[in-house]
């Protein structure tokens, strides 16, 4: 805004000086555009090559086609892997959200002995490198003669998602205005009613956010999954194995599809929030 008025009032400044001035003022915006470009280059590349008429190895641009999008399951195993990832993701999300929300309420709402130890136990899995989490869990499964596979992977995912759920829900609980619950109590709601009618609806967006986070963490996890999944293929595992001999374009279709789907969910969520706020 201010830039325009400056330009209009001092038209005699030479172009280079004007550019320098503009640049100085917008340096941080230029920087922002560059940072976003860096973030989106591989996303754009993945999207572009989902239209590649590539045949087996999707390395060189060979021509535009919609076939990959029409038949995303065309490459062997791509959709089995995707289905596994979704199943594991959903199960891990449900369990970790329930367990994590309970812990968040305990830590966020109650004062009790061992609270700081509890906080530490939640922090530790996040401070442990994934490879250690994955490797140690696999060792345990091997000791108990449990074969790595579908359920061990679900367990592994629940384990590393819990902490993230707790942190997210706890933040939401901390930002609640305690007067709202006091008001409910003043209006003769008992503890359970207050919780169900006031506290829970207010914390719900935090829980939903935590569930989305858990799902995306689980869906995108490779390291821990690679240790505990045995012969079960998930989508990231499929990509990793296929990377050596060339990833089929269908994987790009699924990656791009997930991108747009998630973006749509986020934008719809914002829209709903804004309408509610009105």
């Amino acid at each position: 805004m201010s830039k325009k008025t400056v330009d209009a009032t001092i038209p005699t400044i030479p172009l280079t000086a004007r550019f320098q001035r503009w640049f100085g003022r917008n340096l941080i915006r230029v920087y922002m555009v560059l940072a976003f470009t860096y973030l989106f280059i591989p996303v754009a590349y993945t999207f572009a090559f989902s239209f590649n008429d590539s045949g087996k190895s999707n390395l060189i641009w060979k021509g535009f086609t919609l076939d990959n999008w029409k038949n995303p399951c065309g490459a062997p195993e791509v959709c089995t892997a995707l289905a596994n990832s979704i199943k594991i993701g959903l199960l891990a999300t449900i369990f970790s959200t329930i367990l994590g929300t309970m812990i968040a309420f305990a830590i966020g709402r109650h004062k009790f002995k061992g609270r700081s130890t509890s906080n530490l136990l939640i922090f530790l899995p996040m401070a442990t490198p994934e490879i250690v989490l994955g490797a140690s869990l696999l060792s345990l499964f091997l000791v108990f003669k449990i074969n790595p596979g579908f359920w061990p992977t679900v367990i592994a995912h629940v384990m590393f998602c819990i902490s993230f759920v707790v942190v997210t829900v706890k933040a939401r609980i901390a930002s609640l205005d305690p007067r709202l619950e006091q008001a409910a109590m003043d209006l003769y709601a008992n503890e359970f009613q207050t919780f169900r009618r006031v506290t829970l609806p207010l914390v719900a967006p935090g829980i939903a956010g935590a569930a989305l986070l858990a799902f995306s963490l689980s869906f995108d996890d490779f390291i821990i999954t690679n240790f505990n999944s045995g012969t079960v293929t998930t989508f990231p595992k499929f990509v990793y194995t296929a990377a050596a001999r060339g990833i089929p374009a269908q994987a790009n279709v699924i990656g791009s599809g997930m991108f747009f789907l998630a973006l749509a969910i986020v934008i719809a969520g914002q829209f709903v929030n804004r309408r509610k706020a009105r």
């Binding site: 993945t46 906080n119 530490l120 490198p129």
Partner: protein, 282 residues
């Protein structure tokens, strides 16, 4: 009576789970790390002999990879901080009504599988990509120089993959800064640089600490970037642990390495938090 028990009842299922599938495995890992192969046994059969020298052997044999892991992770963390700080600052203070939209854009690349994006980098930087021929034509790199299978590619990939982990906590703490404190600093004749050094940076310290930890920890244990973008000369400790487990079936060494990695990270993190002086993390 019931009130005292409530928090414990709420904690019980989750903590039971974490105890069984996080604490117990770590304890078991410690136990595995001092085992030795059974004499005359098959590959993958080990017995407990409390051989603590496993740690020394494992470390000495792989100190190069250890050093590399921490060096790469450090460089990637510093680069990510340098890219993310202005980005988070711009989103918090300069983006007006597009704030939420830009925040979504920071997270958005996450939704395309990170492995797909890493492989995309491999192809972008590879011989068939557009970057290498362009740089060669301009003469920035020589005809024989490649970008993939180098330390550069690994560090670049790590910086890229952990960037949102840096940006989000930074944004969260920069966004909380009251712009009036910055104005006040300017009113008191501080120039832009002094304002940044004396006001903005100290106030955003919790974000800097959280962001650097969230980047450094996974980066130090990462092996995917090194596996896809690197070469045998850029192997990190994660690659060694992975191959000990799956290819060589040498569980004790893998366990000793995992433990050393975890201990090293915990020590570094503790020192760092002490030095940075933030207790807000937990």
């Amino acid at each position: 009576m019931g009130k005292i028990r409530t928090p414990y009842l709420l904690l019980l299922p989750g903590f039971l789970f974490l105890f069984t599938f996080f604490i117990l495995p770590i304890v078991n890992l410690a136990q595995t790390s001092t085992q030795t192969p059974i004499a005359g046994g098959d590959t993958g059969q080990y017995e407990q002999t409390l051989r603590f020298a496993n740690y020394l052997d494992a470390f000495l044999e792989n100190r190069e990879q250890f050093g590399r892991s921490f060096l790469y992770a450090l460089i990637a963390t510093v680069l990510a901080l340098m890219i993310s700080y202005p980005l988070a600052y711009a989103i918090a203070f300069k983006s007006g009504k597009y704030k939420n939209f830009l925040l979504v854009l920071v997270v958005a690349p996450f939704f395309t599988s990170f492995l797909l994006r890493t492989v995309a980098w491999k192809q972008i930087l590879g011989e068939e990509g557009f970057v290498v021929p362009t740089l060669r034509t301009i003469g920035i790199i020589s005809e024989s120089t490649t970008l993939t299978s180098t330390a550069f590619a690994v560090v670049m990939g790590m910086t890229y993959n952990f960037l949102p982990f840096m940006t989000l906590p930074l944004y969260a703490s920069i966004d909380r800064i009251d712009p009036r404190t910055l104005e006040a600093s300017g009113d008191l004749y501080a120039n832009a640089f002094t304002t940044f050094r004396k006001v903005t940076l100290p106030l955003s310290m919790p974000g800097v600490v959280a962001g650097t930890l969230l980047t450094f920890i996974p980066a130090a244990g990462d092996y995917v970037n090194a596996a896809i973008l690197g070469s045998p000369n850029t192997k990190m400790i994660g690659n060694v642990i992975e191959s000990r487990y799956f290819k060589i079936v040498d569980y004790p060494t893998a366990a000793a390495l995992s433990f050393t990695l975890m201990a090293a990270i915990l020590i570094l993190v503790t020192l760092y938090i002490r030095k940075a002086g933030t207790e807000e993390l937990v």
